[in-house]
């Protein structure tokens, strides 16, 4: 009993060195160490204060539109065979869960006296959220984005530009998220005194996974109250898509200690489960060091990191965040994946049953449910963390269904 209590604690929070089990840590250059220590100290200093909490809460409520509803998806439930609720993070201003974290970190950066935010983005959702948070809090914003992603997510690029964010194209590597993260880290080493790196997911060196998880935990807190109100009990399972894991960890946060609530994490299967054609790091990766932390990551036999592949830009990262890795390792969380083709079908089902266009990322969780109905029983209550809306993917989706 005592042992399992400790295990829960380790699953929720990293140790002092930033480790969840064997995952995490601070694998960064000495230039960044004082910056990370400063960040950790400031987070611990400001985050628990009632002043910070009130300001954060006010921003989330009045600017972001929280709480987001928990919607009983009656029609979609019929296609699964159990009672499915959608936690509507797509209704958060900006169209995804990303604003939770962006507002929190922007507020923290402001408290720390920084004047500028830098970050990377792939689907553009996090970049857009950062551009919003920067404007709301009066901080300059520069966003690094792979050239491939700039082409794929044109509408979000327009949105970010409209908000006055500087977009810096990343041409190195494959021109995707992994390369943009590397470039943002590089930029940060040269400007950390004035600039905060607003990490977009529960990845990177400690304390980022801890900080992002804390700011996203609002999803799980709301979800718990809402489901208790509607059903009078906890859900049987929570399912979320992810790569770094921020929406999943946010949704799981209030349920980690409750073993009866099954947790599902769905990664990007890509075209197929060939190492060069997928983003399924739990299927095809192994432990390694990327972007400051020891994580499950796609790599070759010598430790060179591989570029992931999936049609969902937001899942196109070769690593899983340290907390997600640990939840998987300890057996607390089940991992699945969905292939691109299945994901497009899932979009269609959600459109036709509920009249909602999901983001391609979110559609991975939907696809998993549709393809694994046998795992969800008739009397069960399942919550799907509906992490984002699909407007940004409209072109890709319509081209897939109707051609050019």
């Amino acid at each position: 009993m005592v042992k399992s209590k400790r295990l829960y604690e380790q699953q929720r929070l990293p140790d002092k060195r930033g480790y969840f089990g064997k995952y995490g840590g601070q694998f960064v250059n000495e230039i960044l160490m004082p910056v990370l220590i400063e960040l950790d100290e400031n987070f611990d200093r400001y985050y628990p204060t009632s002043e910070f909490q009130e300001e954060f809460h006010r921003l989330q409520r009045d600017y972001g539109g929280r709480p987001t509803p928990l919607y009983y998806a009656k029609n979609f439930s019929k296609s699964i065979g159990s009672k499915v609720y959608l936690k509507r993070e797509d209704l958060l201003c900006g169209g995804s869960h990303k604003l939770n974290n962006a507002l929190g970190q922007a507020l923290l950066a402001k408290k720390m006296g920084k004047s500028r935010l830098i970050t990377e983005t792939s689907a553009g959702q996090h970049g857009f959220a950062t551009a919003m948070a920067g404007r709301a809090l009066g901080l300059e914003v520069e966003i690094f984005m792979g050239i491939k992603d700039i082409a794929r997510q044109a509408s979000n690029v327009k949105r970010m530009k409209l908000l006055g964010a500087k977009i810096t194209p990343v041409k190195t590597g494959a021109g995707v998220l992994k390369d943009a993260v590397s470039d943002t880290l590089r930029e940060w080493t040269s400007c950390s005194r004035t600039t905060h790196y607003l990490m977009g997911s529960t990845v990177g060196p400690h304390p980022f996974p801890k900080i992002v998880a804390a700011f996203q935990s609002v999803i799980g807190k709301e979800l718990k109250n809402q489901i208790l109100e509607k059903e009078g009990r906890l859900p049987d399972a929570i399912i979320a898509c992810g790569s770094g894991g921020s929406n999943a960890i946010g949704a799981f946060s209030s349920f980690i200690d409750d073993n009866k609530v099954r947790l599902y994490f769905i990664e990007g299967g890509g075209g197929n489960l060939d190492a060069d054609n997928s983003a399924a790091a739990f299927q095809l990766g192994k432990p390694g060091i990327l972007h400051g932390a020891l994580i499950q990551v796609l790599q070759d036999e010598y430790g060179q990191i591989k570029s992931s592949k999936t049609r969902a830009a937001g899942l196109n990262y070769p690593g899983r965040g340290p907390q997600i890795c640990y939840l998987y390792d300890t057996g607390r969380m089940k991992v699945g994946y969905a292939f691109d083709e299945e994901v497009f079908e899932a979009v269609k089902v959600m459109c036709q049953t509920e009249g909602l266009i999901p983001a391609l990322e979110t559609a991975h969780a939907i696809a998993y449910m549709l393809n694994h109905k046998e795992e969800f029983y008739g009397d069960e209550v399942i919550v799907l963390n509906y992490s984002g809306r699909g407007d940004k993917d409209l072109e890709v989706i319509t081209r897939r269904f109707y051609g050019d």
Binding site: Q26, N29, E30, I31, M33, G173, Y302, G303
Partner: protein, 282 residues
Amino acid sequence: MEIKEKFRELSEEKEGAYMAHIYYGDPNEEFSLSQIEILVKHGADFIEFGIPFSDPTADGAIFQAACERALRNGITPPKCIQGIKKLRENLDIPIIVTTYYNIPYIAGVKAFLSEIKEAGAQGIIVPDVSLEEANPLLDAGREVGIHVIFQVTPLTTEDRLRRIAAAASGFLYVVNVEGVTGARETLADSTLKLVNRVRKHSDIPIMAGFGISKKEHAAAVVSAGADGVITGSALGEIYQKNLENPEETLPKIARFARQIKQGCIKGYIRRLNAQNISYEEV
């Protein structure tokens, strides 16, 4: 040759040390081998031998491109280790391997250090291993006999500096980056400050890197108290302009090495003179 021995030799000859950093296999192995040969012939006292990594986050654009090209052209860690062996056939000066932690981590840290030791390397720099994560590397380094070189910066706090100096062996790598050093502070000023801070804790040799591309830079930081300088991307910049025939740039590379080495000598003499004056004043 051991690192210590090289520094002793240089101080006897009244010279600052010059370490040249390359990434092996960019654009191909043959060029890297001839580049190193030229660098050594024209003044390099140490070779920092980079084993390319897919995501070199502590390197700038030039070396990032170098890693990418080398990997695209098929370089692997085993080929790099073979390269060190080849170099050792006619090279006596210390070789310091630089790579990112996932490369030794996947090979097994101790196994990797044994291999580079056997091939002929004396030390290793792993720019993405902080002091906090360095124990496996330090343990293996001690066991195998490979110096683990640490980096310090003007932002490194006093407490960290003390702990890093205690863990370091071989030499300390002083990193000066624009934006990290004070806005109007010169390279020499901030190096001097950092060298003096390190000296409070340790008499380990200090090599200054980042942003050194001219004779004057080298002279300035050596006269400020650094035991030597490191040049990296400035070399990459020279041959990257002619990737079709990089061999054609070798005379330029030779000239560059001579300039930097002259700066190291000049800086050392300037420092000695300054010391003499202050002694006389006392």
